[in-house]
Symmetry: D2
Subunit: 136 residues, 4 copies
Amino acid sequence: MKRNPDYQFELVIRVRDYEVDSQGIVNNANYLHYMEHTRHEFCRHAGTSFRDMQQQGIDPVLRKVEIEYLTPLRLGEEMVSKLAMRRECAKFVFEQDIYKLPGGEPVAKADIWVVCLENGRLTKGDVLAQAFSEYL
Amino acid sequence: MKRNPDYQFELVIRVRDYEVDSQGIVNNANYLHYMEHTRHEFCRHAGTSFRDMQQQGIDPVLRKVEIEYLTPLRLGEEMVSKLAMRRECAKFVFEQDIYKLPGGEPVAKADIWVVCLENGRLTKGDVLAQAFSEYL
Amino acid sequence: MKRNPDYQFELVIRVRDYEVDSQGIVNNANYLHYMEHTRHEFCRHAGTSFRDMQQQGIDPVLRKVEIEYLTPLRLGEEMVSKLAMRRECAKFVFEQDIYKLPGGEPVAKADIWVVCLENGRLTKGDVLAQAFSEYL
Amino acid sequence: MKRNPDYQFELVIRVRDYEVDSQGIVNNANYLHYMEHTRHEFCRHAGTSFRDMQQQGIDPVLRKVEIEYLTPLRLGEEMVSKLAMRRECAKFVFEQDIYKLPGGEPVAKADIWVVCLENGRLTKGDVLAQAFSEYL
């Protein structure tokens, strides 16, 4: 997994205890939740929102995720979730990495491919590209 | 909490491991998920569905829940989730009890009050009452 | 539901989009998650933690929840989750109310009864009472 | 993503309504839950269980997931979740595919790498390999 050294957004998140499973570590599916939440906060930071896009009839949906789990997070721990985005034609690729706080140990790394649907049909992604023009 | 001895519907559910938290027991919020899932399967059994109701513009929403936690469920355990419903004017009361399998030990008991909104406004509940006429 | 006007702790939480269900509103079970997270952050604020208690062999568990749903939260909205606690013999009662931000409209109100287990047996709750002595 | 045509286990699962998000489709993270649940039911089928392994001090944990989302699942829909497993030295690879019922339309395809920890240290995976010897 290639890594972009220049993250464009980051968000501090604390583990909520119900996200930890019987192994005492955050359940694997929750990292997708953290990353989704980070993308949505990034949208807000960029001056748009998931709700705005839905109201315009644009539905960003996931096409593919590749995620590596490196170090588990536990009860009460805190993380910083970092993100860089780029466009590949109709797809947007989010490189999203999570690091443990305060030490900065890598927790999870993911590449996430998003496309935009409009009335259920694939678009070229120009609406999303425009919303994020200063990042692409 | 008064209990109705005549349940009208029941559903067997196995604990999914991600529903168990760091205490090794099913997290308290998941019992509301089990009970919601039971109500929705009851809808299907009664010949309607949550999606049908939404498409008619009817949104059943929760007004109140009283739930007692009696015995925790653990990894790999199985339960039977039982339900009885009655109408109180515009409200529908679901008595929902969960028992551990195979022994039948009581796990949780709840009274759940549901009302129906139509375009965001409270209705008298007649659409829901009609859908469940044979149970009321 | 009687309300204690003197909250002892409050926490601002933003809705995460995956917490919203097909009705466009936060799913009912997630309010229990918000309230649990608030109790745990209150523990930290009080100088203890859920993990500390577990390591001492003390398991605080829910016995009963009474929750009223007043106004739904939607995508991207923010709330303040407030808490007051009192002791009733071996039980601890948390009055937990959630208000929408910025307006302060009441979202949900709950009374939550917690007891402490030690090696699976009910305790008188003295360990928890001591940890929260300045609030009781 | 290469696909193994010979699935070794399959499980029918119905979408629970709280798994559907504001876009009206199952939230991306829930597919990891469905696949985890499928692996655990496969364990039971193979005569062991996640709880048994934990009690022996063996913790199977995820190292990597590659998942493609093909067709979204919606309210009330049903799926069949299929699985094939193979060993690659200390890693176990689960090919896990989900198809919509009744039509069989592909919903999601994933390769999932699992390793076994013993007291937090990576093992060669022999305990897991033995439990699944008839499938490897």
